[in-house]
């Protein structure tokens, strides 16, 4: 009984105490139960390098912590503040701020309870993996944000130093940049945190981008520079007129692969002679200089149709008809400042005139070769047929091309007459474009032994009966694609065809080139072209009515409006060659009808000067 009284007394005392506590006037119900803040400090948690503040969502009842992925022990001491009279428990254990540990793992819960009102709220913990890296995820100028842009501008890759190029109308302008960074990272552009990842920036200056992972205490810095999409500009380099001589419309242009400078061969009648002789001049970067001997050929016969080629070692060769002997070709090589004749004539038979002026090629051994059509009826193998003549280092070797139809083998007696050829080099490969009367065009590859392998034979453009050889030419890009310029009689146009030597396909490429067909059935205009091997830009020059105009294609071969190449009239040849490094050189024989005076004009068509802020 005594024991029962004792128990009742204790119980009563506890009840009284409880009631007394509840009625403690110093504790007022705030009707709120909330965690104000919760932080995992680096001071109390040695595995954390920087304080991590939990993100509390009262809506979702979640509490998120971005923890380093390298942190293995998630039993951590939180420092928190709560609303009045509240306390925190995890797994029914009361947690004391700055002293007790909680298990910070996704799915675990923390309950905050108010010991006056009896209210309680349970939060579910979410752990966000922090990669401890500060990385820029994306940067761009979006067309939707920038009316000066037609398309989004994005750097090729994210790196510490980035460069983008914008169209000229947007260059140096204020544009809206869009940036994003990895989870938990803070990105700033020029020191400012963008709104919704977007910020207006002055692109006249480099743009500083910093990304900070505050949890890991890591910052990465990036610089974005905004350049201009460069366009091609045409610049007149100079004029050349040979003193005390009368020049004609003939000339040829070649680029020396060693110094990347243009060389020009032309013919002229010196005051003290009556026959044309040849001279080579070189543009040395600021003026023309004579290369080797002036007027270097003999005058037994007048020299004509000069053509120059330069091998990979930088040695120039010149092909011409006449000079030492009529109706034969000769080739001279520049050696120690002298133009030495390579052997005798390049052929064993007299040569005829060709519709396409002869060109000189360089074989894989660095020796010259060319094609001719024989003009001796007694030599049926070569008469009007294509013959290749190549120099083997000591003499000229001639060979016919069995794959090509013979003269007279077509629908008429004159069909198959060889019209001439052009040459294109692609890396170490050499290709020739060959034309015959009333046949399609042929493309053959020159092998190391100077034999020829067919690539495309007798290709006749759609709607035509045969290929129209006037202005025909061939170029190559760095990827080994061939570009062939051909005339179309029926359509009254010229067209560039893209030829893939690997699968031997031919396809019309880019926009057609309007030309007129003369009464003789040939093309009235002079058209020449060259291809930038790396970006496939094509520069085309069209001469009509004595004036030359040029047009530049986009990367798909679509030509822009024509612009005048020169203020001067021209008469005779127009030439263009690609020199590498985005530079084309063009030359033309300018002509003054009143004085009947010819002179060479040389132009460079290249990318405009690059200006990148900060460089």
């Amino acid at each position: 009984m005594k024991r029962l009284v004792s128990l009742i007394s204790v119980a009563a005392l506890l009840v009284c105490c409880t009631v007394f506590t509840a009625c403690d006037p110093s504790k007022k119900a705030d009707n709120e139960v909330a965690i104000r803040s919760i932080t995992l400090t680096s001071e109390l948690n040695p595995g954390i390098s920087k304080d991590i503040t939990g993100t509390i969502s009262t809506v979702d009842k979640t509490m998120s912590f971005a923890l380093p992925v390298s942190l293995s022990d998630h039993n951590l001491i939180p420092s928190f503040t709560v609303s009045d009279n509240d306390y925190i428990t995890q797994d029914d254990n009361v947690i004391i701020s700055g002293e007790s540990k909680i298990l910070v793992e996704t799915g675990k819960t923390i309950t905050v309870s108010d010991d006056i009102s009896g209210l309680s709220v349970t939060y579910t913990i979410k752990v966000i993996d922090n990669d401890e890296k500060a990385e820029l995820a994306s940067v761009r100028f979006e067309a939707a944000d920038n009316e000066l842009l037609d398309e989004d501008i994005v750097p090729e890759q994210i790196s510490e130093e980035m460069l983008v190029r914008v169209p000229s109308q947007a260059f140096l302008q204020t544009l809206t940049i869009s940036v994003s960074a990895g989870e938990g990272d803070v990105v700033k552009v020029n020191g400012t945190e963008p709104q919704d990842g977007k910020l207006s920036v002055d692109t006249a200056f480099p743009i500083d981008i910093t990304v900070t992972d505050e949890v890991a205490g890591v910052t990465s810095k990036y610089v974005l520079k905004v350049g201009k999409i460069l366009g091609y500009v045409c610049t007149k380099l100079g004029e050349y007129s040979k003193p005390s001589a009368t020049m004609s419309g003939n000339h040829s242009l070649a680029i020396n692969p060693v110094d990347k400078l243009p060389y020009v061969v032309f013919d002229a009648v010196d005051d003290h002679t009556t026959k044309k002789r040849l001279t080579v001049v070189k543009w040395d970067g600021s003026s023309f200089a004579t290369v080797g001997e002036d007027s270097f050929n003999d005058t037994t016969a007048t020299a004509s149709v000069p053509n120059i080629a330069i091998n990979k070692e930088g040695t120039p060769y010149v092909l011409y008809k006449g000079g030492e002997v009529s109706n034969f070709f000769s080739v001279r090589k520049l050696e120690s400042g002298k133009w030495n004749r390579l052997g005798e004539s390049t052929s064993s038979v007299k040569v005829g005139s060709m519709m396409i002026d002869p060109v000189l090629g360089i074989d894989s051994k660095g020796n010259p070769f060319h094609f001719y059509a024989g003009n001796d009826k007694t030599q049926s193998a070569s008469y009007k047929n294509a013959v290749m003549s190549s120099y083997d280092g000591s003499s000229w070797k001639e060979s016919t091309i069995p794959e090509m139809p013979l003269y007279g083998s077509g629908s008429t007696s004159t069909s198959g007459a060889f019209y001439g050829n052009r040459v294109a080099e692609s890396g170490s490969d050499c290709y020739v474009l060959l034309h015959q009367n009333m046949f399609g065009f042929h493309i053959m590859k020159l092998n190391d032994d100077n034999s020829l392998s067919p690539v495309v034979m007798n290709y006749i453009p759609e709607g035509e009966s045969y290929a129209l050889p006037g202005n025909a030419d061939i170029c190559a890009d760095d990827e080994g694609q061939l570009y062939v310029l051909e005339g179309s009689h029926a359509a009254g146009k010229m067209q560039i065809y893209k030829v893939n030597p690997s699968d031997k396909t031919v396809a019309a490429y880019g926009s057609p080139i309007a030309v007129s067909i003369g009464s003789s059935g040939s093309i009235s205009e002079d058209v020449v072209f060259a291809v930038n091997g790396s970006d496939r830009t094509i520069v085309l020059i069209k001469g009509a009515d004595g004036l030359a105009n040029y047009s530049i294609s986009d990367e798909n071969g679509q030509f822009a409006e024509y612009s005048p190449l020169s203020d001067s009239a021209y008469k005779g040849d127009i030439r263009i060659e690609y020199a590498g490094d985005n530079n084309f050189y063009a030359s033309m024989m300018a002509y003054d009808a009143e004085s009947k005076h010819y002179w060479i004009e040389l132009y460079k068509i290249g990318l405009e000067t690059d200006i990148i802020p900060g460089e």
Binding site: L172, N190, G191, T192, D202, A204, F205, P206, D208, T210, T212, G217, T219, K221, I611, P613, G614
Partner: protein, 163 residues
Amino acid sequence: MRRIDIITATIAVSALMALASCEKHQEILFDTPFVSISDETGTSSSMNVSNSANNYLTSLRIDVNISGEKYIGDVTIEYEVIAGNGLREGVDYVIQSSTLSPVVFTKGTYTMPVRLLWKHNPDFDPEKDNTLVIRLTSSSMEEMLIGYPGPSALKSSFTFTKQ
């Protein structure tokens, strides 16, 4: 013989003292934080710019030299721009707004740029004072020296001259 020993010992002690003295001097030199301003290569304190150039960008660098132990928080550096009577901001030059003073170095950052875009001024008067001086004035770190340690405080300012 004993006298030689004494002399030798004296020399040795003197050498040690001298060495200790040098080490102390180096400690002071290398442990004292300082801030400097120079061209992009970190070598020059002056540069000429041509009035014929338009939108010509120049970039300076402010370098803070602080040992890791002392770099415990952000450091703010202030500079002033002193333009001669021949130069007008917005007409002759523009400073990139994000690189204007003050320049905040977050912990671990040791170099920050100051970029100026120079503009062609058709009314440029070469007879006037066409210098523009960027002069470091203060650091939020009290002990940080302005310019290189030493009486000349080298690289505490950078001078442009527009010509």
